[in-house]
């Protein structure tokens, strides 16, 4: 049986699944329930200056019948008294000594303010802190959250202030609302951060009410851009995690966040370099019980693959993420249809005909029925047909062996290597 425990920058946790800082980690009652349900850790909802929240805080998009494929929120940091939070954090840590209790922090950009909150937090016995340089809504208008995370110098400076007094690990949480997340990641490292976590939520307006023309969520007819999260943001988060993991200037542990709903999502984040993962939207949607399958599924998969700990596969995908110019131009694939499985929906036909390379033909087979057929010489192996096919394993992409050695764009433009011959149909641009 796999060992799911992690030591994340010195923070020990029975498994890599933490509640992300947010509404599910706002009180003792919630965090205790989460730990009882099997969560390994929790990042307490951000503590800071007193704030007031608005009523109506979340908006979501449904897709194809799936509720909350993406969620956005305009809720600010905790609106509970600081003393209550600190007391409850201490109580959680006392009652759950083996679980990871991390506290998210955000105060105004003053050295004393950060020193003060850091010291008070350490007094609770918490295992670590996470500096919230990421919230894109509300707090950023007051010079906090993403307003810090979008300027590498600020992020570095505040991290330094915190590290001046911190004796427990300091994680810096990054905003995705930047051109290149690695700049801030490196700045955090430079400021002394022990780890980074990403992504925070993405600037968004999820929808507009077509009767009132108010954006959702609506506060008496008006709205504000909010932070986007949930399953829809996972690909963006994976890319940013991978960029930080691959950057030698970062080189500190990464806690992966963004749309994680299943053990599979978590395993992908870990493969791309994370060594803990944080979950919020899925817990808000389905409750804390989802962690049972997360740990069970990850453990079973690791057993099947022979991974003893998550460090056995952590980062295994990092080296596979390359620049485009490093990809092999001589690797050819073609779609193959398993006619035993085909249900004749012909989605592959319309997708290829209208959206790809018109490489599928329809052959009459009587009674108005048609059999789709891949035109091998026109197929560019783009995958679209296999992606739209509703039957698992019906369309597979198969390599066409051409005997040609690997040639990348970088090689090719440097005059090295030889491109394998492409079918005439491609009308490939001619070089030199």
């Amino acid at each position: 049986m796999a060992d799911l425990s992690v030591n994340f920058a010195g923070i020990r946790s029975p498994n890599p699944f933490w509640l992300a800082s947010g509404p599910p980690a706002n009180t003792y009652g919630q965090v205790a329930r989460a730990f009882d349900a099997g969560w390994g850790g929790a990042v307490w909802k951000t503590l800071g200056e007193p704030i007031i929240n608005v009523y109506s805080r979340y908006g979501s998009i449904d897709f194809g019948g799936q509720r909350m494929a993406g969620l956005n929120n305009i809720e600010l940091i905790t609106d509970r008294p600081l003393d209550d939070n600190l007391k409850e954090i201490a109580e959680v840590k006392r009652n759950y000594p083996k679980h990871a209790v991390i506290v998210s922090l955000m105060v105004e950009s003053k050295r004393e303010a950060w020193h003060e909150i850091m010291k008070r937090t350490e007094d609770t016995g918490a295992d670590g802190v996470e500096l919230n340089f990421g919230c894109p809504h509300g707090m950023s208008e007051r010079g906090m959250g993403a307003a810090v995370g979008q300027v590498p110098d600020y992020a570095c400076q505040i991290t330094q202030w915190v590290k001046e007094v911190a004796t427990i690990p300091v994680i810096v949480k990054l905003t995705p609302n930047v051109t290149d997340v690695t700049y801030v990641a490196r700045a955090a490292k430079q400021g002394g951060a022990d780890a980074i976590s990403l992504i925070n939520t993405i600037n968004s307006i999820v929808s507009v009410d077509l009767d009132s023309f108010a954006p959702d969520p609506s506060v008496r007819g008006d709205g504000s851009h909010g932070g986007y999260c949930g399953p829809a943001v996972k690909p963006i988060a994976l890319n940013m995690v991978s960029a930080c993991a691959a950057d030698p200037g970062v080189g500190i542990p990464i806690s992966g966040i963004g749309g994680i709903s299943t053990w599979r999502d978590a395993a992908e984040f870990i493969a791309l370099g994370a060594t803990s993962v944080q979950v919020c939207t899925a817990a808000m949607h389905y409750g804390f019980r989802i962690v049972e399958d997360m740990t069970d599924g990850l453990s079973n998969w690791m057993d099947e693959k022979g991974y003893r700990t998550i460090y056995d596969f952590a980062g295994k995908s990092v080296s596979h993420v390359r620049k485009w110019e490093d990809l092999d131009l001589n690797y050819f694939t073609v779609a193959k249809i398993d006619y035993e499985k085909c249900i004749e929906c012909e989605l592959c036909f319309s997708a290829c005909e209208d959206g790809a390379h018109q490489a599928i033909r329809r052959n009459e087979r009587g009674s108005g029925r048609h059999a789709v057929e891949i035109i091998d010489e026109a197929c560019v192996g783009c995958n679209l047909c296999s992606l739209v096919c509703p039957v698992q394993g019906c369309i597979t992409m198969t390599q066409i062996p051409n005997g040609a050695p690997k040639v990348t764009w970088k090689d090719f433009t440097a005059g090295k290597g030889k491109l394998a011959e492409r079918p005439e149909h491609f009308h490939t641009a001619k070089f030199g």
């Binding site: 019948g65 249900i343 012909e346």
Partner: protein, 425 residues
């Protein structure tokens, strides 16, 4: 065996007219619409005689465009409301759904179609407009599904339309001939009204051949579409058929649909025949409180002309099925005067049983009501002239008796041909 008088339906514990397929809720319709794969050249569309663009109307439900969805349906099939309820979808669109090949339940096309078309009725949407007047006039004989479908398409092309209907109400068998738990008369009437609102003139209680002559119509109109349906139920040709207590299935269903206060059902009912109308009658009798309701069929189970799911419906309702059972005589209690049999037509019921021949010999099935469901014969009161250039024909009178959707398709096809002949757009 003592004769049991026919009686008014006792009050059953359930609604005998409750719909077998209640409408979808908005949530259920959304969830179901999202299941649709949106097939290209979809098999469901090909399987529909009117070729409704099924994936298109379902995606419109998913996007919240119910107006567009209803228009897509009713453009292809003016009888979209009744077809949503009474079409044998298991052997048409839903039977062709690719989900069947994925070992999943087919998309519930019928109820999605109902969801969209009910919306059009509830909102009283006017989805189509009459075309600019062409000055051409078309007579349609029969306001059933074929006639109404033809009328809609002709009006949309701007031709003046007059419909002659012998009954008091339009809709044909949609209004009076389909079990109430499938299709309610008010729905059929509302559907007819939507067509008529395009400006077709409806003359009810007018029988062509009696009140107005076909020759006159051919003279007065630029084209005539004959969609008169079929005639009387076939006769049993056995003694006792004339007894009070022997009714034909279509009359039985018509009474319970349109004159419900007059409906009478026996305590023990025998239905002769095994088509879809026979199932309508046997289940409806059971639902109305008959203690027993039995199909008597001269051939075997595998020979039954009804659809499989209709048979299942009958069985699920607790109806009995007697196969290889040939009716020989309806037995009755004859009143006599001076030893002579007298007319019995004013008796509530004089039927006491049905004598039948079975492979094991003759027997008497006790019953107090016999419903004949032997199919209809062509009409004998109206001769359709062959090959008249201004005359077109469609629906049951042309195809010998088929589904509503076939009648609708034929009505539309007739409209297309008439329009072409009239040089319309």
């Amino acid at each position: 065996m003592t004769a049991l008088p026919a009686h008014d339906a006792r009050l059953p514990t359930h609604d005998p007219f409750a719909e077998i397929h209640p409408p979808l809720t908005t949530d259920a319709a959304l969830a179901e619409s999202h299941r649709c794969l949106y097939c290209y050249d979809a098999p469901c569309t090909r399987a529909c005689p009117t070729h409704i663009d099924v994936p298109a109307f379902i995606k419109k439900i998913a996007s919240g465009n119910l107006t567009g969805s209803a228009r897509t349906i009713l453009d292809a099939n003016p009888m979209g409301h009744s077809c949503a309820r009474a079409c044998p979808v298991e052997v048409m669109c839903e039977g062709a759904c690719v989900m069947n090949d994925r070992d999943e339940k087919p998309i519930n096309i019928a109820l999605l179609q109902r969801h969209a078309t009910d919306y059009a009725l509830a909102k009283d949407l006017h989805l189509f407009a009459p075309g600019p007047a062409t000055g051409r006039k078309v007579a349609i004989i029969g306001a059933g599904p074929a006639g109404l479908s033809c009328a809609q398409d002709l009006r949309r092309r701007g031709h003046a339309v007059t419909i002659f209907e012998s009954r008091r109400e339009p809709g044909g068998l949609n209004t009076c001939g389909i079990a109430e738990y499938k299709l309610r008369a008010p729905t059929a009437l509302a559907e007819a009204r939507m067509v008529l609102e395009l400006g077709a003139t409806l003359k009810t209680g007018v029988s062509v051949g009696r009140d107005v002559m076909l020759d006159a119509l051919l003279k007065d109109f630029d084209a005539v579409f004959v969609a008169i349906g079929l005639g009387a139920t076939k006769s049993l040709g056995i003694p006792g058929e004339q007894l009070e207590g022997v009714v034909d299935a279509l009359t039985f269903i018509e009474v319970l649909k349109l004159r419900r206060a007059q409906v009478k059902v026996g305590r023990h009912v025998v239905v002769i025949g095994a088509g879809n109308t026979a199932i309508d009658a046997v289940t409806q009798a059971k639902r109305l409180g008959a203690e027993s309701s039995t199909i008597v069929y001269r051939r075997g189970e595998e020979d039954m002309p009804c659809y499989d799911y209709e048979y299942e419906l009958g069985k699920a309702d607790g109806c009995a099925f007697r196969f290889h059972c040939t009716p020989l005589e309806v037995l009755g209690r004859q009143s006599t005067v001076d030893g002579q049999p007298q007319a019995v037509s004013r008796q509530p019921s004089t039927v006491t049983g049905l004598r039948v021949r079975t492979p094991a010999g003759e027997e008497v099935i006790p019953c107090d009501m016999v419903i004949k469901a032997l199919g209809q014969v062509p009409r004998t009161d109206f001769t359709i002239p062959a090959d008249h250039p201004k005359l077109f024909i469609g629906g049951d009178c042309a195809n010998g008796g088929a589904e509503i959707v076939n009648a609708a398709a034929e009505g539309k096809e007739a409209a297309r041909k008439i329009n072409a002949m009239l040089g319309g757009n």
